[in-house]
């Protein structure tokens, strides 16, 4: 067994160990911390699997923002946890479920072990036409070229997802602001972090967006970083969250999806098919989508993290 394979086995075992902890821990908060660590290690696995694009998304979104969301929820729900334990299913039922889940794992493992050789792949087909799109990162090419319809639907589905979160507000709170901690001690470390980190973060976000055409990165990774910086400023109490009824905010939310749809429709007219790019214009159009989609995605992800609006108590300042 080579050193690299041993390292891979170690990494896989660590991930499984953390996953078991996440399921088995008695305290939810500890389980969520385990989940955050698990996300970090999964990002490393994606590097080992040769996809830095996915590793970036996993690190920023799967571990970073999801961790933030779940840690907040775990702290919020901690007082109710004692009651959960009484509702656990009995040992026989758990054994039965465990056996069934083991069977699912066994079937999947058998599938993994019997995958055809050589593996079917669309890689050469992607590589062949990549030059006509003008981008060098094949993942970006797939996201905005060959499978742009998936990306479009995903961008569109984020808007109803946000509306679903907002719809959990009570009637008086509708259109108000998400919960915020209010102003904080200006000397605290959190305030300093929220003042120093965002400029660097915005730079990194734009860098990731920009290199996305040729190297791992792109609008999703860039948008996640921008969203994280925004949420940091809000959590530190440096700014109040925006009122969700604001027109400019709502336009910003739908801007990305609208631009995508308009460019897609222009393809019908210019190139004869929805989401087709006319000869020679592919690169500028992809760039336009990437750049205009990023602020929308960032705002939507940030607002998803902030949750539904709450009733304003004091006078709005």
């Amino acid at each position: 067994m080579s050193l690299a394979l041993a390292a891979d086995a170690f990494l896989a075992l660590l991930i499984l160990g953390l996953a078991i902890w996440t399921i088995a821990a008695s305290q939810t908060y500890g389980a969520v911390v385990g989940f955050v660590a698990y996300g970090l290690l999964v990002a490393l696995v994606w590097v080992r699997l040769g996809s830095v694009d996915v590793a970036m998304t996993e690190a920023a979104l799967g571990s970073g923002l999801t961790g933030l969301l779940l840690l907040g929820a775990a702290a919020h729900l901690a007082p109710l946890e004692a009651a959960e334990r009484q509702a656990r299913p009995g040992p026989w039922l758990r054994l039965l479920v465990g056996a069934l889940c083991g069977a699912v794992t066994a079937v999947l493992a058998a599938v993994v072990l019997s995958l055809p050789e050589p593996a079917p792949t669309l890689g050469p087909a992607v590589a062949e036409h990549l030059a006509t799109l003008g981008v060098r990162n094949p993942v970006t090419g797939v996201l905005l070229g060959y499978r742009a319809i998936d990306t479009l639907l995903e961008t569109v589905v984020l808007v109803p997802a946000l509306v679903a979160v907002w719809s959990l507000a009570t009637d008086p709170a509708w259109g108000g602001r998400p919960a915020s901690p209010g102003p904080r001690d200006p000397g605290s470390a959190l305030t300093l972090l929220a003042q120093v980190l965002p400029p660097a973060g915005i730079l990194v976000g734009i860098h990731l967006l920009w290199v996305g055409a040729d190297a791992p990165g792109g609008k999703f990774q860039g948008a996640v970083v921008l969203a994280a910086m925004w949420v940091l400023v809000l959590v530190a109490g440096l700014r109040r969250p925006p009122a969700l009824a604001g027109r400019p905010l709502r336009w910003l939310i739908v801007l990305g999806a609208l631009v995508f749809i308009v460019i897609g429709l222009s393809g019908v007219w210019l190139a004869g098919a929805f989401l087709a790019y006319p000869e020679g214009l592919a690169k500028p159009m992809i760039l336009a989508i990437e750049i205009l989609l990023t602020p929308s995605l960032a705002v939507i992800l940030g607002l998803l993290l902030l949750g539904p609006p709450v009733a304003d108590r004091g006078p709005g300042t």
Binding site: S188, A189, L190, L192, L193, V196, L197, A200
Partner: protein
């Protein structure tokens, strides 16, 4: 010259790795949260710093090197903030009801 740079890399990276080892041992062995926090920030700042220092001669100048230094500066900022935030959130003295770490209640420096 190349040999000297290689040697520099080997020594610096090794030292950095040793700091990570020390930080981990501290995290596992120290008696209470605040001392563990102390061990952690050492590994964060010095371990990563030495690894970055050692890698500097091995990367393209100037962009790759700048990226490495940026990573270290960001980690320093994160480490300092985390130290402050967690330090303030931890109960002040060992011996509080939650402190049942190792059973060995050492003197905290």
């Amino acid at each position: 010259m190349t040999l000297a740079l290689t040697l520099f890399t080997v020594i610096s990276v090794s030292l950095g790795a040793i700091f990570f080892l020390a930080g981990t041992l501290g995290l596992l062995r120290f008696p209470d949260t605040l001392t563990r926090l102390h061990a952690l920030t050492k590994a964060d700042n010095l371990g990563l710093g030495l690894v970055v220092l050692g890698l500097l001669p091995q990367v393209a100048w100037p962009l790759g090197a700048l990226k490495l230094i940026a990573v270290w500066l960001l980690a320093l900022l994160a480490g300092a903030t985390v130290g402050q935030l967690l330090g303030a959130a931890v109960p002040p003295e060992p011996g509080t009801p939650g402190d049942r770490a190792t059973g060995a209640e050492g003197q905290t420096p």
